[in-house]
Amino acid sequence: MAGALLEIHGLVKRFGGFTALNRVTLHVKEGERFGLIGPNGSGKTTLINCVSGSLRPDDGRIVFAGRDITALPAHQRTRLGIARSFQIPKPFTSMTVQENLDIPLEYAGHARARDAGAEAAEILRAIGLDAKAHLRPSGLTQIEMRKLELARAMAARPKLLISDEAMAGLSSAEVDDILAILFRLNGEGITIIMIEHIMRAVMRFSERIVVLDAGERIAEGTPDEIVRNPAVEKAYLGE
């Protein structure tokens, strides 16, 4: 498919007898703001774990920027340009906020140890964490922790950023704050996949949305089309 940055073909993932993903196929275009939604347990996080490399799919192919990455370990995918934030923040607890960014800068962002500091400071300033640069993550609030997740993903200099429920549990003003950051990153040319339960945020952010339910792809369309889709309504609310 022309212009597709990420192509997922017939992805299958089973955990024992449970099929978490059943032949899921989807494409994300370069520069797109892509929303991935679905009820709890529908396979969203499993899908992006397969894309980022934390999980190996049982069947299917993943192609990124024209290259088959299905068998690639996670750290190499990051170097190719896939970065993610974690639903439950996973900071490096023994390091300061700034040092947390040095790791992806040095290992994936192609920065030498010497200029990593300046780049980290710049990213922290852009995301509004510069005042906390020398704190340990344990001293951060919830929203600051989410911002650190995003900042760390940005430090990997990604082409594709996967934001896994970066807004869960945040206040409405904080949601706007994170949304603004994601809009700005997209403006800089980064393709973004947003996984979110906060409908107000996904609907506003996404240009196109795919809906998963019980490991199957049940709908795809613009936010308007998704809202009016009876299958989606059924998946969320039941009959």
Partner: protein, 312 residues
């Protein structure tokens, strides 16, 4: 080379020089005898800390690696009467291979399960050695030191060799700690999944850590046959190594190369003093009490304590 690492090399050379000078002093031979053990623990604690402290994988199988070094040496003495440098290198390499092997275990085993596997490894290897007659089996084997050491008595010579090995291992640990490898290991210690997703090749770094750690533990064990002149499985696979290797870095502080050195010197000296003045059984008792005290009162070791007193 940065000025700081130049200074470190100079300090290292200074320590080696001081060691040689001390060996030339011909003070009470017991000083060298005890000093050897303390220095051997500097090597062991430093080697353990590369995996346990930097990467966060707690190895209970230190005796296995130490004994691999010692028994490789015994084998080479028996078969070829190989010279000491060859023994040290070969002992290190065999233990490094063992390290590489347990590195692959980290693919499936993390946390306490990894530790249990390393403990089991020690038991398995000890059983194999007990049943291998050529290296003495369960009865043990007397080793005759080569006649005419390069200088002094053989014990002062071994003492000097151990000074060199201690400096070498501390240098290696310090280099790792300050390089991209050390930063990557710290990241995977904090959160392995996040590290991998941030571009850190976690498997490769873990294999590196287990191999280097194994190598240095084997190196520490290789001169052991010449030091004790009688090698038997119970002393080569002694529980003391497992406990001390873990306790010394914990007491000194695991995040920096200085921690294991401080821990080994303090605990090692205390153990030697207790052996002479009270009884050799007091050894592990002291370690146990001190370790419990530190885990409860100063979990980040002496280095952490100093940092806290300085107000960070």
């Amino acid at each position: 080379m940065t000025p700081r690492s130049g200074l470190a090399w100079l300090a290292g050379l200074g320590v080696v020089g001081a060691g040689i000078a001390l060996a030339g002093l011909r003070v009470n031979p017991y000083v060298y005898f005890a000093g050897y053990v303390i220095l051997q623990y500097v090597v062991i604690a430093t080697a353990w800390n590369i995996l346990g402290g930097y990467a966060g994988y707690v190895n209970f199988g230190t005796p296995a690696f130490f004994a691999m070094g010692a028994y490789t040496a015994v084998f080479l003495i028996q078969s070829l009467r190989a010279p000491l440098p060859v023994l040290i290198l070969a002992g290190g390499l065999v233990a490094a291979l063992l390290g590489l092997g347990i590195g692959y275990l980290t693919l499936r085993l993390r946390g306490v399960f990894f530790s249990i596997a390393t403990l089991a490894l020690s038991v398995v290897l000890q059983t194999m050695i007990i049943n291998w007659e050529y290296v003495g089996g369960s009865r043990g084997l007397s080793v005759i030191r080569p006649s005419g050491p390069p200088f002094g008595s053989y014990v002062t010579f071994l003492f000097t060799v151990m000074v060199g090995l201690a400096v070498l291992s501390v240098m290696v640990a310090r280099f790792i700690e300050r390089s991209w490898i050390g930063r990557g290991l710290a990241a995977l210690r904090d959160n392995e999944e996040a590290a991998e997703c941030m571009g850190v090749p976690t498997l490769r770094l873990k294999l590196f850590a287990t191999t280097i750690s194994g190598f240095l533990l084997g190196v520490a064990g290789a001169p052991f046959p010449y030091y004790v002149t009688f090698v038997e499985p119970n002393s080569a696979f002694a529980l003391d190594y497992a406990v001390n290797a873990l306790a010394m870095p914990m007491i000194g502080g695991t995040t920096s190369w200085a921690g294991p050195v401080i821990g080994a010197v303090l605990l090692g000296t205390a153990q030697q003093l207790a052996t002479v003045t009270i009884s050799s059984e007091m050894n592990l008792f002291i370690v146990g009490v001190v370790l419990v005290a530190f885990v409860v009162l100063a979990p980040e070791g002496i280095l952490g304590l100093v940092r806290r007193l300085r107000g960070r």
